[in-house]
Amino acid sequence: MNFELLIDILIATVPLMLIFATLFAFTTWLERKALARIQNRIGPNKVGIPCTRISLFGLGQPAADGIKMLFKEDIVPRGADRLFHLLAPILALIPSMLVLCFLPLDFPWLNENSVKAFLLDGAVIFFFAITGLNTLAVFMAGWASRNKYSLLGGMRAVAQMVSYEIPLVLSAVIVVMMVGSLNAAEIAKAQTGWDWFVFSPWGFAAFVIFFIAALAETNRSPFDLPEAESEIIAGYFTEYSGFKFALFFLGEYIAMFAISGLAVTLFLGGGDGPGLAVLPWLSVIWFLAKIFALIAVMIWLRGTLPRLRVDQLMGFAWKFMLPLSILNILVAGFAWHAEQLDNTFITVITWVISLAILYGAASGLNQLNRGKVRPREYKYAE
């Protein structure tokens, strides 16, 4: 057994998990605070340092919540599948935790070996393959609970996640095409010096599609149909309580971090930012700051948008996002060939044309789908 390699791997993974678990706690606080302020409330502001009157803007709330979750009774419904009821929250957490290792985060304590341990050539493929397991966990939870609401939530989640996986992957394909590599570190390296993919028409379109699909993949509002409180209680985790629920919660937020991390890697230049020449470790800060910017937008959208209807959700994926992302791949392919010519005039022309094509296609698709909406017929009970 190669103990040195094992230690290197531990050095790489353990701090990663600790950092993201801490960030998870902070994010729950941030989300509650931001949503409260958006809704003209104050949000958690009581819990601070225990046994004192210091409240620290309620920053102790996540810790208090965690302790509460640990001590709560773990209820398994009668007639539920006990084994899968236990496995589902674990399976919901593990894939999101796994893919965190492949984000190109250059922590200063990493040595060459520990970096190499996670220098996977197919990182992007690996990411999508592993996060696809989330769907299984969600459906497992819905099935094992023996509850109609849970099963409905699980089925909604499967339909939603399978539909949105396709535009998610197709928009990531553009970056892979441009860089010519599936390696996350290399993709990030290709964007150094403000050469981010989001600063091009096709990259921007891909980023928007990716972000919307990521919202749906992580069951965030406005795509939180699998856990729609007003319709199906809490969806697939209706029957979960105590620490199992906390695991689901953690898994959901870690998935948010992971998919935001991938978005940052693919489109927002990874750890690229000002001041890197002086202080190389700043790249980690930039990376986390970009993740948090995306998370903040997610929270902001959650405070703004109402939940979609099921047919709207599926229609948006199949009738709008899918054609647009396929068209975007074509545009990106032509643009790549145009860029190979290395001519400023042609590049500018390409940009203008692709901008026009993408915007025209988006509004065309919008118009096409809008035309089918008829005025609503009201039917009253006799």
């Binding site: 931001a34 958006i38 003209n40």
Partner: protein, 228 residues
């Protein structure tokens, strides 16, 4: 032509205004935290410090804003509560209550005769949804909303069931917490009572007139008979 997805940005601008505004203009953007009834009339330092001491209550409901309502109470007109209670145990509210949180039993005296008051009147706090429908349907103005909001209890079962004697509040207390509404209700009751009395009087008048007529007719018949 509007920009694609422009509505989302409009909505986001609204929420952003709320978010930023809540740090700048607290009084405008945090209207639910209206602490204007407090002596200093301002947001207290560190809201949410309530209760400061264990067991502390803001139970002086007269300080809550006048239109707040939370949970029903039974009115009596002063004196010994069960003697002047307005409720006649007609059970209309029990039947109308959407979540069915009211339970009423009629009161009978020792001869088994129904006396118009409730023997049992329970409302389950954990079920009540503060809809005020019981108030709307009551023909006797016996049940109205209280603004008492500190109803939490350490007893999960018995403590959440409010009994008749705890529900009974005097009309004076009602005037204290909801002056406008109570005055309107009193006036309405007075009008109704006057109408009822007028009706009664009219009926009595009619009865008397009828009796008089009958008597006159009888007298007439008698004289007729006498004449024959």
């Amino acid at each position: 032509m509007s920009i694609l997805g422009g509505g989302i940005f409009k909505g986001m601008a609204v929420t952003l205004r709320n978010f930023v505004g809540s740090y700048i203009n607290k009084k405008e953007r945090l209207p639910t935290n209206d602490y204007s009834w407090r002596p200093d009339g301002d947001l207290p330092q560190g809201i949410g410090d309530y209760p400061k001491e264990e067991g502390e209550q803001l139970s002086d409901t007269t300080t809550v804003t006048e239109y707040s309502r939370n949970f029903p109470m039974l009115l009596h007109d002063g004196g010994e509560p069960m003697d002047t209670v307005r409720c006649v145990a007609c059970q209309i509210c029990e039947r109308e209550c959407p979540p069915q949180c009211i339970y009423i039993e009629k009161d009978y005296d020792e001869n088994g005769k129904y006396i118009k008051r409730p023997a049992v009147f329970d409302i389950d706090v954990s079920v009540c949804m503060s809809c005020q429908i019981c108030v709307e349907v009551c023909p006797f103005d016996a049940i109205v909303m209280n603004s008492q909001f500190e109803l939490s209890t350490p007893d999960r079962f018995g403590g959440l069931l409010v009994r008749r004697d705890d529900l009974l509040k005097s009309n004076d207390y009602y005037h204290q917490i909801h002056p406008e509404e109570a005055a309107a209700r009193d006036q309405k009751m007075a009008v109704e009572k006057a109408a009822k009395e007028a009706k009664k009087k009219a009926a009595a008048e009619k009865a008397r007139a009828a009796a008089e007529q009958k008597a006159a007719e009888a007298a007439k018949a008698e004289t007729k008979e006498g004449a024959e």
